[in-house]
């Protein structure tokens, strides 16, 4: 019953988003040419590129309204208002926190690390963080390692938006990769410290290290040399790997 109420609550919010989305689709579509002239040939409304998006936008609005109606009828709005009153000052539950940490890891991996840092180091960083926080199964390890990770990401972001990054890269081309590697070592040290304090077997950290190092060590050469896929950022480690591979090959 509680699950259904929460579902209808989110349905009510979604229905508003959907209606707005439908309006957006229609607005953008009306900006597309409904009639045009190509080489002197006049085209009609039914060939217009806007036709299909207009149909989709209309459909989304209609279904959004139906969803809103269902949500209101089945108590979604009432439940939303009641929850809004009740929830003031409430804390996030563990499930939400875990979800947010997975989001954080994926977003930083894709938008922060991959475009800027050597792909091998990026994978190591991502795996080290995610595997440590979830595999350790300890609340303090989870909190501490996540905190350190956020701090390191924030420093990296600040570094990138400041002119310092350009300056350092001018001095040494792999300086950012080097910095990321140092951050990674620091993350491990912090994880080790807190795991030791919390009596979490250090074997777990060794397993994480094994997975975090072995995975890119296997994947990167396979994609780079067997499937001939140039990796997103070939920096400190992949650059050396390329050097070694081509020296041995030729």
């Amino acid at each position: 019953m509680d699950e259904k109420a929460s579902l209808r609550r989110s349905d009510f919010i979604t229905s508003i988003i959907l209606i707005l989305f439908g309006v957006f689709v229609i607005l953008v579509s009306t900006g597309m040419p409904m009639k045009a002239s190509y080489g002197g040939v006049e085209t009609h409304w039914y060939v217009a590129p806007a036709l299909f998006p207009l149909f989709i936008g209309g459909g989304v609005i209609l279904l959004g309204v139906l969803l809103m109606g269902t949500a209101v009828r089945q108590g979604g709005l009432a439940s939303l208002l009641a929850a809004a009153k009740r929830k003031t000052g409430s804390r996030l539950d563990e499930r939400t926190v875990r979800t947010m940490v997975v989001f954080l890891s994926l977003i930083t991996f894709v938008y922060l690390f991959i475009p800027r840092i050597d792909f091998m180091i990026s994978i190591m960083f991502f795996l080290s963080f995610v595997c440590t926080v979830f595999y350790a199964e300890n609340k303090r390890v989870f909190t501490r390692v996540t905190f350190v990770y956020i701090l390191e990401c924030a420093v990296l972001v600040l570094f990138y938006i400041s002119p310092l990054a350009r300056l350092l890269n001018g001095l040494y081309v792999y300086s950012m990769d080097f910095m990321a590697l140092l951050f990674l070592v620091f993350l491990y040290m912090q994880a080790r410290k807190v795991m030791k304090r919390e009596n979490v077997p250090l074997k777990k950290l060794r397993t994480v290290l094994f997975v975090a190092v072995l995975t890119p060590l296997f994947l990167c050469p396979v994609f780079r040399y067997a499937l001939l896929v140039p990796l997103p950022k070939e920096g400190l480690l992949i650059g050396q790997m390329n050097y070694l591979y081509y020296s041995l090959k030729y």
Partner: protein, 509 residues
Amino acid sequence: MSFALEALQQFILELAALVTNPGALVLLFASVIMGIIFGAIPGLTATLGVALLTTLTYGMSPATAMVALLGIYVGGVYGGSYTAILVNIPGTAAAAATAMDGYPMAKKGQAGVALGLTTTASAIGTFIGMLFVVSFSPIISKMALEFTSFEFFLLAFVGIVISGTLTSPDLVIKGWIAGLIGLWMATIGRDKLQNYPRFTFGFSQLDSGLDLVPVLIGAFGIPQIIQTLRDNFKFGEMAQVDRIVPGFKKIFRYTPKIIRSALIGVGIGAVPGIGEDIAGWVSYGAAKRFSKDGDKFGTGVEEAVVATETANNACIGGAMIPLLSLGVPGSPPAAMLLGALLLHGFNPGPMLNIDHPGFYLQVTAILLLASFAMWICGIFLAKQVIKVLRIPTSLFMPVIGVLCIIGSYALGTDIFNLYLMLPVGIIAYFLTEMKYPIAPLVIGVILGGMCDSNLRRALMVSKGSFLPVFTRPVALILFLVILFMIVSQTPLYNRFVVKLKGRVKRVKQ
């Protein structure tokens, strides 16, 4: 008659070419094992397996790529039964019905028997599905050659409506909304008729539209990774497996039931957009209804396990029929397979048999070998596969995350694909949480282009008139199906059905 003999000859040649190619055989067995592992681990699905492997097959010849992709598809659908039987947690939705009687069998100390029965039943199911692919696909594709743009538009739309209606775990309109979102995603990029950029917002990377593989990996992979890590999924105590018995004698006894389940599987697979999970449940329900031990179902009945596993694997063949003959995927993994085929220069649909004669037979031969490879792996390597299941998901899923990311990137070697894949994955996660089905969204993305260009082409020919929908028989049938699907979800229709049932009851009395 001579045509059939010629086809048989061609089929034997295709089979011989595969059997005598050691590389293809190794690849087949490797991908089947990979599929079994993907199927067995909750959170990983056959669809995700096919999606990730698509990246690796880019450099292969189309035939070799099909060996790998069909191998992982067949293995993935079967693999779900492992955890369903051993820990009562189906590895894939397709094996959910198997857990109903498979786990009670394992608790009685018959895990080996159950696994043996599912292995043999799955192989037979795949084989029967294969027979349907080879016999029906050419006929349907020949019929589809008569289709005009109206039929293709309606066909694509039927796929989305049916998929939305039947796969929605909550309100049916949620399935339709997901389908419309998928259709909208398909409109992004330059339109095919006038080359006008739609919803690109000045991003040149969007001009060619959304790349299918990153979208599919995002939609199927990212939500699974988030859910598994969030819930800290762990297996409970696994049942002991002694010896895996193929159970030929028992299977022989269940022949009529196997045929019925296979027909259900093929039939459901052939309906666009709905997959192996529904086939498994429908077959389970039918087996329970017609069995003399129906009341014992749920306590560890062998017949139930055989029925579900035959149906979900027969569904593979069923899903391949509309995929190959009409270009409409029959199930989510088949949708991914469609993406892979397009990537390799194949355009599934009525022209496939003309552009690439013999392709159907090649697919059939691969399915036959895949079912054989699956049976061998299932009987002889099951214990080794079970060992892989002991790897904690908190270590396994992040690695899958890396594979999703590298897989999305590798096809176009464009980081923009990653920027696209992640938001799609996060949106798919929220949609899944709010009980929106993902299959119609994906089918919408895949069939959106077909829908859009065929609608406008059809209207161009009819000069803006919708009349051909009512004058062309196939178009009319498809239109009525859509209409029925929509009307049947209205309260008015439900009231009418209740009234009608009441009247029938009164007349009977």
